[in-house]
Symmetry: C2
Subunit: 224 residues, 2 copies
């Protein structure tokens, strides 16, 4: 995850990846599921089950799982059983603070490079979010929301920082679904519009505030 030397196509594989190894296929598959909230917190996984599902032996399944455990996307009991972690409130707050820290910086670095084409793409993604929210599609919402952020942060030209932000998303994945199912429909892309406005205006303080708010807002209602 953190800056593998390979390309990291989180949102769908690239066109011409020559020969994706088995453990990479499994890793990507599980990673998407976790990041986009398709696995509930506390759900258990078994190596043989993963192997059956992806049609590989236990070896690649183990490597993929090990990697996700290392990234905090899965947790492993002392006996080696793996499951998606159930985050404590303190942990959720800490991860939200990390998102704020990293993503504010990323957006700030992206600002000077944000041209009109980027802003248009963000607006397109934003309207996708509206559609998907109207359909009560939690997974689609999370995916589109993260794509919005990722598209912006890619402009920051800071791969290590982006990788860390994605690791935080990954750790929050299972929890995020629980959040977005109880989300009010109307308020969804509110801060996103503020972000776009600040980008257009070249308003750095406004952008930092908008990103921080967008990132913090959702998570705050989760720690009841």
């Amino acid at each position: 995850m953190l800056s593998s030397s390979r390309s990291s196509p989180i949102f769908g594989p690239r066109a011409s990846d020559p020969a994706p190894s088995a453990h990479d296929r499994v890793y990507r598959g599980l990673r998407s599921r976790i990041m986009f909230g398709q696995i509930a917190p506390g759900e258990a996984l078994t190596l043989r089950g993963i192997g059956r599902e992806f049609d590989v032996s236990m070896t690649p399944a183990r490597e993929a799982v090990q990697r996700l455990v290392a990234e905090g996307a899965l947790s492993m009991s002392a006996s080696g059983r793996v499951s998606t972690p159930e985050l404590s409130n303190e942990r959720i707050e800490e991860l939200a603070a990390l998102r704020a820290l990293l993503e504010v910086e990323l957006s700030s670095r992206a600002l000077p490079r944000a041209h009109m084409a980027l802003i248009e793409r963000l607006q397109t993604i934003n309207s996708t979010i509206s559609d998907v929210v109207a359909n009560r599609d939690a997974v689609g919402y999370i995916r589109a929301n993260l794509e919005f952020h990722r598209t912006l942060y890619l402009r920051a030209q800071a791969p290590a920082m982006l990788a860390m932000a994605e690791t935080v998303w990954l750790q929050l994945g299972p929890t995020m679904r629980a959040l977005y199912t109880r989300l009010r429909r109307s308020e969804a892309p509110h801060y996103h519009r503020l972000i776009i406005a600040a980008l257009k205006a070249g308003d750095e303080p406004g952008l930092r505030l908008a990103v921080r708010s967008d990132v913090t807002q959702g998570l705050r209602m989760l720690v009841v």
Copy 2:
């Protein structure tokens, strides 16, 4: 690396770890070596070689390597060969910025909980650093320096954030050695003393500045 559910004894194993699995042993061993700069940038590793060295088969060696690759501590070529990464100047600058971002926040969170006992321990570590620097012991210097920071940040009660900071240290490990061999002896614990002074005074802005300086100073001279 990132918040494994197990305890993470980076600086020497705990007393009563019941049955450390083989891949964990290998992982910890390689991780220390990398983080403390005992492996040069670009140095190659082989699974069978690691297996021989730690007296295990290829399987645990593979898992440990995979994990370190995921953390950015090792890089893997398209053909699967692993080596310690040779960082570009942009990457080094980015990682230094990450250190500043994360560690300033960590120190700031540790400040309200920093009591006298902690400050004394920091001073003890600091004198160790002076000794070790006098002996031109690069690895010892890096180890003691990181222990100084880690001791402070542990008080922040922010395990995910600390884990991310350690991941950055890990990525910088092989490069750090190259840095500290060309370090002037006298200036070593300068900013550390500023950090301790700010802690004693409860001076948060001063602490943030001192940490940022300490973290940035060394790395800056590396990007010639």
